[in-house]
């Protein structure tokens, strides 16, 4: 048990509230360092298990697939902590530490029960991490996030129970085949932010604190990608889903005005590449998805750190409020651009050597349509993250926006990530050596360089011609969260309308029977005054519709459970 790399995170979470804030920062940084040391001393192929109520729990499994994920999760935990120590309060630190630990726990879980427990801890503490940003909007988004993930977790548990009831093994291996696997697959897809079950991500991530968003971007979706690679690689539907997802995120990013929300939509888009890789399922595609998850965590963390630093320094995060920042914060612009160049797949940076693995796997598998659509998604990525965002945030007329200094620890975290993205791009062998299968791919050939340079050049030309059209507007964009964000209001309106009718009916009856005025009777009977007495006071009964929504989720879980026991 003591060798488990999650342990240092648990210890740190317990210690953090007990020590002064300054020491807490060191504790938060020490946890991933200790975890890394533990991981490196474990032999590849380690599988530790313990008996638990007749189940054999494989709580720790380190193999070729879990190792790269665990490594990059630990790196992300360290760098996000370094970025966050200047701004995070103690509670937020505890939530972030537990979140990173449970994310690592998910990828090291060898059986489905351990997976489920880690999965749920991760969901709950990440909701806490969002809420701890402290604004009302954060708390509301965290609550919606929690509802969605509780639904996903219920599906996962229901699917696992069904899987076991149908005689499946508790071991987390390839799950395809039985109908119960579909339920588990849906739970994984929800957590991978696959549309239409994705809107929790762009809804909640931008509402977390500056450092909280960096933590969030690393773990949940990539743990789900790991779960898909482990349990469902080669599932044909994932190819279609992944490609659709890659384009979906791109479309929304074009419309988005908020820096961190725009980048959140590009998490959806980039995870689409990984899901497609899992669907193709060849050794090259699994390598590609793993490598892209690895690189994505590094450059997306850098992008969100830079965007978060802009928010920290200026108090603004909307493109329409920004502009001309390149003179005031040149270093941040450079940091951001390195992340943007990496995600766009420019040669010499990390995204190029990882994304092209997935694209090449599609080519090698003879999937021409998939290949072209993934390239189209690459065009859209470069358009939004590489061109639109810096153009409108950093370029243009200097608006004289007041800028406060960004703490050195934040800059240090970004500096390390810049180096990491460059090193991976220059020495792809470092990453390729970590992948589950031997890599037979050379990214730097003349043909590939000619292709990518053309793609990016002509995208840039079209962008320059269309900058007017792309000008951002101070709007938000409806997404599938429209449904559950409005559901309580609809329910409230329905309930209020019903309640009013009921009260009026009662009043009419009372009036006829007693022959007295309406209000005194109502007051004597303990009814509240009707709507005729001016505007209703106090908040609407949101509790009721929310619990209705919760009951629907729980009900769905019970149905799944019942179906699983009957079959």
């Amino acid at each position: 048990m003591l060798e488990h790399p999650v342990l240092p995170f648990l210890v740190a979470a317990v210690v953090l509230p007990l020590v002064p804030r300054r020491v807490g920062g060191a504790v938060m940084l020490a946890a991933p360092v200790v975890a890394l040391a533990q991981l490196l001393t474990l032999d590849p192929g380690t599988s530790a298990s313990v008996g638990y109520f007749g189940f054999e729990l494989h709580y720790l499994r380190l193999d070729d697939l879990s190792e790269p994920f665990a490594l990059v999760f630990i790196a992300a935990a360290f760098l996000a902590a370094l970025f966050g120590i200047a701004t995070m309060g103690t509670k937020e630190r505890v939530a972030a530490t537990l979140y990173a630990g449970s994310g690592i726990g998910v990828v090291l879980a060898g059986d489905l029960l351990t997976l489920f427990v880690m999965w749920e801890v991760k969901a709950v503490v990440s909701a806490g991490l969002i809420a701890l940003a402290g604004r009302a909007a954060s708390r509301e988004a965290a609550f919606r996030y929690l509802l969605v993930h509780v639904a996903g977790g219920s599906l996962l548990l229901g699917g696992i129970v069904w899987h076991l009831a149908a005689g499946g093994s508790l071991l987390f291996e390839d799950l395809g085949g039985h109908a119960s696997a579909t339920v588990i697959l849906v739970a994984f897809l929800l957590s991978a932010a696959v549309p239409p079950m994705h809107s929790w991500l762009p809804d909640a991530y931008p509402e977390a604190s500056v450092a909280g968003t960096v933590f969030l971007s690393a773990f949940t979706t990539k743990a789900a990608v790991y779960a898909l690679l482990r349990g469902f690689s080669g599932t044909e539907a994932l190819v279609v889903i992944g490609v659709a997802m890659a384009l979906y995120g791109v479309v929304y990013a074009v419309l988005e005005n908020d820096l961190r929300r725009l980048l959140s939509y590009h998490i959806v888009s980039q995870v689409g590449f990984m899901v497609a890789g899992a669907g193709i399922g060849t050794a090259a595609a699994i390598n590609g998805a793993t490598a892209h998850a690895f690189a994505h965590i590094l450059y997306k963390a850098l992008l969100l750190m830079a965007a978060g630093s802009v928010l920290y320094a200026t108090g603004r995060s909307k493109l329409t409020d920004l502009g001309g920042l390149s003179r005031a914060m040149p270093l941040l612009v450079v940091f951001y651009l390195v992340g943007a160049i990496s995600i766009s797949g420019v040669p010499l940076f990390s995204g190029f050597i990882s994304k092209e693995l997935v694209v090449d796997a599609a080519r090698a598998d003879g999937r021409d349509v998939v290949l072209q659509l993934l390239k189209l998604a690459s065009v859209g990525t470069f358009l939004s993250v590489g061109l639109k965002l810096p153009w409108f945030a950093f370029g243009g007329r200097d608006r004289g926006i007041q800028v406060r200094a960004v703490p050195a620890t934040m800059l240090a975290a970004m500096g390390i990530l810049v180096a990491a993205n460059l090193v991976l791009g220059l020495a792809p062998g470092l990453l390729y050596g970590l992948l589950p299968f031997p890599v037979d791919y050379e990214p730097y050939t003349a043909g590939k360089l000619v292709e990518i340079v053309q793609l990016l050049t002509f995208t840039t030309l079209a962008f320059v011609l269309l900058t007017k059209k792309l000008k951002t507007e101070p709007t938000i964009t409806l997404d599938t969260d429209w449904l559950y964000r409005n559901a309580p209001r609809w329910a409230t309106n329905a309930a209020t309308a019903g309640g009013t009718a009921l009260e009026e009916g009662r009043a009419a009856v009372a009036e006829r029977v007693r022959g007295v005025g309406r209000q005194p009777v109502l007051a004597r009977l303990g009814f509240s005054p009707g709507p005729g007495d001016g505007a209703p006071s106090g908040p609407p009964p949101v509790v009721m519709p929310t619990s209705v929504l919760g009951s629907v989720f729980v009900g769905a879980f019970v149905v799944v459970l019942a179906v699983s026991l009957l079959t």
Partner: protein, 73 residues
């Protein structure tokens, strides 16, 4: 704007030549994908935004829950 069109017009044949040189199966496809793809994404996204998806920022703010509008970032 005119200059950009000229640059595009000059670079496109160069791209096609480079594609032929590297033995690509469909010369010029990448350049078209970059240019037309970018335009397509912009027009489709903005069109969808205008037609259905874009809303004022206060769209989700609940009129009765004032603190829901809080934005002290």
């Amino acid at each position: 704007v005119k200059r950009i069109w000229v640059i595009t017009a000059v670079l496109f044949p160069l791209g096609v030549l480079a594609d032929i040189a590297r033995g690509a199966s469909q010369p010029g496809l990448t350049a078209v994908l970059g240019f037309a793809g970018c335009a397509l994404i912009v027009y489709v996204s903005k069109g969808l935004g205008k037609a259905a998806l874009a809303r004022p920022e206060a769209y989700y703010a609940h009129p009765d829950v004032e603190e829901g509008l809080g934005d002290d970032a």
